[in-house]
Subunit: 198 residues, 2 copies
Amino acid sequence: MDANTDIKRTRSKPATEQVLGAALNLFTEQGYFNTSIPDIVKASSVSTGSIYHYFRDKEGIARNLYDSLVERMETSFSEIEARHDSAHDRCRAAIELLFELTEQEPAVMRFMLFSRHREFMPDQKPVCSSRPFVQMREMVASGMQRGEVREMTPIIAASAVFGGALRLIQLRLDGILDKPLPEYLDEIWQCAWRSVTP
Amino acid sequence: MDANTDIKRTRSKPATEQVLGAALNLFTEQGYFNTSIPDIVKASSVSTGSIYHYFRDKEGIARNLYDSLVERMETSFSEIEARHDSAHDRCRAAIELLFELTEQEPAVMRFMLFSRHREFMPDQKPVCSSRPFVQMREMVASGMQRGEVREMTPIIAASAVFGGALRLIQLRLDGILDKPLPEYLDEIWQCAWRSVTP
DNA sequence: GTCTATATCCAGATAGAC
DNA sequence: GTCTATCTGGATATAGAC
């Protein structure tokens, strides 16, 4: 049974996971700057010393979190691109994914989409320039080449397709919408697609 | 000439204005939490003592700023409602206003739309519930009653109409778009309106 | 690798002269 | 009403035993 593992922590996730999970929740509930290291110590049951053993500093925690979430999003979008050919199907699937993720892991969405990252990670690019957002714009742009989407400024088309859905995500996270987002998928998608169709 | 006024400050705006202006710039450039009172002292040329004479605390500065900007927005939207009858004209005018404001006073838009207010003003409602946002949704809802906008969940319609434009504002503020927003008005408006038209 | 105890710093806020 | 000087708390980060 290897009795010398998992002596301390009951929930036997590795300490780094423990810290990252606690930090994600605290950062999204109270904000990065309202979250102190002692807060993270309490919420994660990992000591100050260990936290600084694994992470350079507080910013390092946020960085690690952000990078891994962006990467995860990127992978999901790549899968969507592989699974579908048309811009129609790809964009719809992307929105569906975002809606589901919002319901299942609101903290992830909050942190990815609606934190002011540059305020606490000064040398990050704005989220809008991150790979997943570029992928979303590419989905639309390729649809324009195929003639599915009418000729127009590509970035405007992308904003038209995804703008409404992103707005709904924000409203949902802010508690304005009380039904789960997937219930609205058909309706918002119809709007989105009509707006750019030839 | 009343020589005993305006002795100290060269730019002879009242001290409170001086402080609010400096704070708005600093808050939007670096974020609220990265801005210290000493920073505001330097940028405003108003002393710590005076700042605390006029404002309860640092949060009070943000509060004052936020309230006055929301009120200003509210007034502008009311004027639009008075000037136009149709949802089509009202919503278009609202977007036009937002686009112009973004170009002329980017800091105002940044602070109003894209600060995480609740992180530093804990007892504020989310922006999305503020009067101006409600007004925007009302514009769309009344269009639905008049039959200009097709029957659908009202908040979805509003998100479809304004989502793209709000997205463009964010892209512009993040430096992704390099042409002034008004140049894109016709194009995004066409998308927005098509998306909800019967 | 994990912990406790502690050093250091600087923010927010106040006191009180002018 | 405006200023300078100063207090105080708590945050980040480190030291060093185990």
